[in-house]
Subunit: 461 residues, 2 copies
Amino acid sequence: MNPIIIKKISAIVGPAFCTTRREDLHCYSFDGAGKIFLPEAVAFPATTAEVAAIMRLASEYGFPVVPRGAGTGMTGGSVPIRGGLVLALSRMNHIVEIDAGNQIAIVEPGVITGDLQQAVRKFGLFYPPDPASLKFCTIGGNAAECAGGPSAVKYGVTKDFVIGLEAVLASGDIVTAGTRTEKGVTGYDLTRLFIGSEGTLGIITRLILRLLPLPEHKETFLVTSTSLASTTALVARILNSNIRPCTLEYMDRTAIRVVTDRLSTPPPPGTEALLLIELDGDRDTVDHQTARLKALLATEPDCHCHHAASQTEVDELWQARRSISPATFNLSPHKISEDVAVPRTRIPDLVAFTERLSAELGLTILTFGHAGDGNIHVNIMLDKDDPEQLRRGESAKERLFRQAIALGGTLSGEHGIGLSKALFLALELNDATIRLMKDLKQLFDPHNILNPGKIFPEGVV
Amino acid sequence: MNPIIIKKISAIVGPAFCTTRREDLHCYSFDGAGKIFLPEAVAFPATTAEVAAIMRLASEYGFPVVPRGAGTGMTGGSVPIRGGLVLALSRMNHIVEIDAGNQIAIVEPGVITGDLQQAVRKFGLFYPPDPASLKFCTIGGNAAECAGGPSAVKYGVTKDFVIGLEAVLASGDIVTAGTRTEKGVTGYDLTRLFIGSEGTLGIITRLILRLLPLPEHKETFLVTSTSLASTTALVARILNSNIRPCTLEYMDRTAIRVVTDRLSTPPPPGTEALLLIELDGDRDTVDHQTARLKALLATEPDCHCHHAASQTEVDELWQARRSISPATFNLSPHKISEDVAVPRTRIPDLVAFTERLSAELGLTILTFGHAGDGNIHVNIMLDKDDPEQLRRGESAKERLFRQAIALGGTLSGEHGIGLSKALFLALELNDATIRLMKDLKQLFDPHNILNPGKIFPEGVV
């Protein structure tokens, strides 16, 4: 990117909103995956028209453009591995409209997910997707990676709430997809094609989101168990008993251990696993579902169910749950963090497999996460400066992927492929499918300027 | 299609499953849109491999292939307007697996929607999409057109229940999309790209469907009103009062009139419109929602709410609702039947517009349908043999489309574009979006052999 290009970008966004200062570039060089690649410049466009002008410039000069929300992704999706321009969408952070009557919101991509949740709450409405980073991450990034969260077990993930969008193509053309109506079948479903495409097909510049009425009531339960196998098997039992929790989170004993100090009442000794369960809805429904849940749990001899008595207690439990990922670093300096998903009846098999893997390879492996939808976060703890440990860790990761797929599952439930999983794409998809996806990439982005090197294994660095 | 091609197709599917007899061709020459085009041959493949072999042949010889379920579509999606081969998927009608533990089903495309509903019901499970043709139509056709139905207001449409699929491309390559898990972000969302693509991008040969627990209880209400405006405004009021009906169907006075003879207790004189409302869930929830609904309706002076007392009565109401479309032919020999959708607060505007249109053009226009999701079926009654009436009807159709879009809506809620709406695509989508969709078609089907002439205006015949 020569000075002429930088000057032209500055002219588009204004000189205050384009930077090539090294200290600025550093801030836009990494995400949650931990790999660092400096961009050559960062621009902060304010409008779709500015994004379109930048893409026209990028097409003309052939420099990479990597869109970025808050950089909280877990697979390197927003990391500029081939340099070029990071397009930071933080200024496009307006909630354009909340249409309460039709229960939709129209937002720019830089809106913080938690801010949107707060804003719609004032109208008695609810935007369910709740990634752990919801206080920082953006709707645009959530859409690009198709982020999930605990509420997905009942409500679904980001893709289930985006009913339309506007995107800028590599050429600078602006396309629209979907409608303000829940139903719509006018032409191909471009909305979903952009969602989860990790910025490789276009830059999402506006989103139409569906909202739900805010549930009136919620109850929280902590189910501790002295048996790991019973706990993992309990997940499908609950969901097959006409109980529809809005949270069904799981932690194994190691995950519990790393956050025990956050709990004023630690789980009883001998606890091997726990489930954090929430029920929401109107009061009567919650009461009814609570009775059903308690009746089911009464038949589980290894389990103890504690019904949270106050909001303080609930907040403490969530605080503990959300602290697992950072707290794991008390165990070792690095980790390989994966988010495979399996059909929920296969969770016991997956977790038993990770236990065997841990024993065989001599590595601490934690499992926790969104058990209700079979999306288990597997953290393989290690010291990457020890080449031997790193080798064992990488082996564990590949075997985990193969096992998840053998169990009918997928490489990624909600983190995306990005850089971290690109090498493993062929474990899940056949040649014809990968070829078709690459052809799609080629069609949308013939000069490979949109977030180059992601999803497909050629990009791995 | 010369005899050599026919012979080769026969060799693939077996001679009993390929026909060129004129009386057979007639059976596969039309759908609910009423336009007739004879194919040159019809084949009945039994496996994905046979479909793939046929597509390789079609690519080699360049003949059109039009996939077909039960031909119940409303926009000409399965009509072979350029001749060639109709690929009737009626033999690929196996429910491959019902995985009750994970609440999913794997099916072939020729499975009848109602049959699947019955089959999963035995496991206490529920497949919600319920197009009016559910006793005849197929899951594959539902997916190709993204069919909806009354339950969409609570549960969503076909696309919301297909989590993965297998498809044969124009080249004969077999691709897979999605997974058996609710979550999954491995590469681009090909599942949704095939859904609603009306057979123009590939032949869907297998589907992975998500299921829900069967609701335990349901209550049905008939709300009649002496005010059309109050009724259409009531739709959004109900949905914004934390009431979540699984049915919120609307009929205007003309729709009521054509089916009155199916009702043992006709609506009271002076009825201008009605809503058919159902609440489902566990008993307590339904009771709670019922109380809320009745309290709301008590504030509506123009309305009378009748709570259905028996299953017989409920069946009769549904029988009447499902008979509207055929019964309209008692009013005039032909109709233009459209399924625009608007944001639900705009239903009063849309319906008032059709009333004005009717008065101005001197045509009977009925409105009824899935008011809960803003998807209003507008039937413009006419005699097509009267050129003057036809001209007025076509004018009404175009003005209806323009109005729906001006209200923030869409050309089609659930019927697709097919042939009938292709000319109007540019009313809803900008040039760049249509160009991108055409580029996608070109990428998937470079020789234009997959259901040629659909969706895009060039195809209109």
